[in-house]
């Protein structure tokens, strides 16, 4: 293969000039490395967003007491969100599947015989199980009667079963919260640690919301109302309708500050994306700039190299190289440089990604896709910036070149 022989000539010229070759590659290396890191962060972020949205519920809307823009930690000292608000949402907003108000307290002392632990106490409606898709694996869940009668019952998380009851069957046993005796009705399915903080989801007990509010916490307000829509397409309008409804009920007129937050999967996604979008933009600019500057440097070194190697080109023409042969040799050099730069850049990018995933909270997923993209970019840069020098080399008159 003539082409292969000519490509080999190009490769040999590169190998003979390692320092020059490195400088020709430098821009491509940095550019492709940045590109690889961007893609790793992008992919990691999307995965994190998906996980968060999945955990939150793709059709869920959280109406949370207290203003501000961030996610909870929810503030159970805000007294304005009430069960009546939940009732109003049920009555006035269409297309909702579940409206589930809940009140809770962190770090409550739970006692059983001589054991004592701290856990979260949640006051919930029976539909809480459906709202979170979280059901008992032993015994029963919270029932309507329990709420109606302010029953002294609870359903416990698996960590509570393990820590308070030493793993023994807790159903029918009694535990104490604030000197209120509660009979254990059931044990919730194991959920593990949440994606946000290292929060143990199973370190909780749930009790009827009435029991929680009147007997345990002595409050007349709730912390949040979890709402599940029937259809994601309806959600934007529902969110606005709910906002308007609560504004009216709480006598808030914008720009007066809200005393509640509405969290949707979109908000969750934005929060999960956090700064990675800014970082991606920054790295994108760096990648683009590096590839451009690197390409221009590459082109200039190639042009200098053509000038330096005029005699070599003349000789090659004299011994039978056609213009096309010379063109292809120099284009090969350009492409080989960018291709090599791409390999090194990808490796560097992978390295940085792996380090980043270890030392920063940045979600990073290393995958093969950047490699494909990098190959395309290398090809583009190599061709775009290689053609001009290669053409100049090919157009040299052999007589002039040999002079």
């Amino acid at each position: 293969m003539r082409l292969l022989r000519i490509a080999k000539e190009g490769a040999q010229a590169l190998a003979a000039n390692k320092v020059r070759t490195f400088f020709m590659m430098a821009g491509t290396i940095v550019g492709i490395a940045a590109l690889t890191v961007i893609m790793a962060i992008g992919k990691g972020t999307e995965r994190k967003v998906m996980q968060r949205v999945e955990a939150f519920g793709p059709r869920a809307i959280a109406l949370i007491a207290g203003g501000g823009k961030d996610l909870p930690p929810p503030d159970m000292n805000i007294t304005t969100l009430r069960l009546e608000d939940a009732q109003a949402v049920i009555e006035q907003i269409e297309g909702l599947e579940i409206v589930s108000p809940q009140a809770w307290r962190f770090n409550m002392d739970l006692k059983h015989e001589t054991n004592q632990i701290q856990a979260v106490v949640w006051g919930v409606e029976p539909n809480w199980h459906d709202a979170w898709n979280w059901y008992p694996v032993e015994g029963d869940g919270i029932a309507s009667d329990d709420v109606a009668t302010m029953a002294r019952v609870c359903v416990i998380g698996s960590s509570v079963k393990r820590d308070l009851f030493a793993g023994a069957d807790p159903v029918g046993q009694t535990l104490y919260v604030n000197k209120v005796a509660l009979t254990v009705k059931g044990v919730l399915e194991h959920k593990g640690t949440g994606p946000v903080a290292a929060l143990d989801f199973d370190s909780r007990i749930i009790v009827p919301i009435t029991t929680a509010m009147r007997r345990i916490m002595n409050v007349d307000y709730v912390g949040a109302i979890r709402i599940v829509s029937k259809d994601t397409a309806l959600m934007p309008k529902q969110v606005e309708a709910i906002r308007a409804l609560i504004h009216e009920r709480h006598h808030i007129t914008p720009p007066q500050e809200d005393d509640f937050r509405l969290i949707t999967p979109t908000v969750i996604g934005e929060l999960a994306r956090g700064t990675s979008r800014t970082l991606s933009l920054l790295l994108g600019a760096l990648a683009g700039l590096s590839l451009l500057v690197g390409g221009v440097v590459l082109m200039n070194i190639l042009l200098i190299s053509v000038a330096e190697r005029t005699k070599e080109i003349g000789l090659r023409r004299a011994v039978g190289a056609t213009q096309r042969d010379v063109f292809l040799q120099f284009l090969t050099e350009s492409l080989a440089v960018t291709f090599l730069g791409m390999l090194l850049g990808t490796a560097l990018g992978w390295g940085i990604s792996v380090v980043l995933s270890k030392v920063s909270p940045m979600p990073v997923v290393v995958s093969w896709e950047p490699f494909a993209l990098a190959a395309v970019f290398a090809l583009l840069v190599g061709t775009f910036f290689g053609v001009q020098p290669a053409r100049r080399a090919a157009k040299l008159s052999p007589v002039e070149a040999l002079r």
């Binding site: 022989r5 023409r317 004299a318 039978g320 190289a321 056609t322 007589v399």
Partner: protein, 244 residues
């Protein structure tokens, strides 16, 4: 084998036309050793470029093995150079940082068919010029004379119809120059066609025929009855050193 017929070459720069060759006609038969001689500015370099198919004449015909190169495209000229002409230059023109063997193989890269025995052929060509023990040496590790011998080996690799040497001894001391001329004479003895372009009568006298250029025309054709023997000169050079 070589026929030049009314070759003219005029360089045009803007409105100024400079005629360099003003109608040159001659022939070179197979197996001849011809020197083209002339001072600088007589058009001998231009003639050499045309003979080497590196440049086309403005008018006239040049047939090499019956092919009139005047009608050929650039690619066809490259092809012609590749398999019919072996070049030897004053400045050697070897690829730096490249082994002698690879340098000799260079024309094969541009051949239609890359021979399987390319390395063997290159080694053989280097043996012809007495460099069997220098296959892996790069030009910087070789003396000027040795570099020119590598260049001659390169000119031989494609078994060309004609070897075209432009001032082949111009950058060499007298001993190395005599060595190079001795190689040419030996190749001539083996039936090769050789054309040496030179300004130096002492070099030209090694050929069988001298074509003297003057002002773009052939001024004189000299048939050399007894060409100088480079081999003998080498011996006397060696003796001269001994006697000192």
């Amino acid at each position: 084998m070589i026929e030049l017929e009314g070759i003219e070459k005029t360089y045009t720069s803007g409105d100024v036309s400079t005629p360099v060759l003003k109608g040159v006609s001659f022939g070179i038969g197979p197996g001849e050793f011809v020197a083209i001689m002339g001072a600088s500015g007589t058009g001998k370099s231009t003639l050499m470029n045309i003979l080497g198919c590196l440049d086309k004449p403005t008018a006239g015909h040049y047939r090499l093995d019956g092919i009139d190169m005047v009608h050929l495209e650039d690619d066809e000229l490259s092809h012609l150079r590749n398999h019919k002409i072996g070049f030897v230059f004053q400045q050697f023109h070897l690829l730096q940082r490249t082994a002698a063997l690879k340098n000799v193989m260079l024309p094969l890269i541009y051949a239609d068919e890359y021979p399987d025995d390319a390395e063997d052929r290159a080694a053989e060509a280097l043996a012809t010029v007495g460099l069997s023990d220098r296959l892996d040496y790069s030009p910087s590790q070789l003396s000027g004379g040795q570099q020119q011998r590598v260049a001659i080996a390169r000119a031989l690799i494609n078994d060309p119809s004609i070897i075209l040497a432009d001032e082949p001894t111009g950058n060499l001391d007298s001993k190395s120059g005599a060595e190079v001329l001795a190689i040419f004479q030996r190749l001539h003895g083996q039936g090769r066609t050789i054309v040496v372009v030179t300004h130096d009568r002492d070099v030209a006298d090694h050929a069988g025929r001298i074509i003297v250029m003057e002002d773009g025309r052939i001024a004189e054709e000299i048939s050399v009855a007894t060409p100088r023997d480079a081999e003998e000169e080498l011996k006397s050079l060696a003796n001269g050193e001994d006697s000192e």
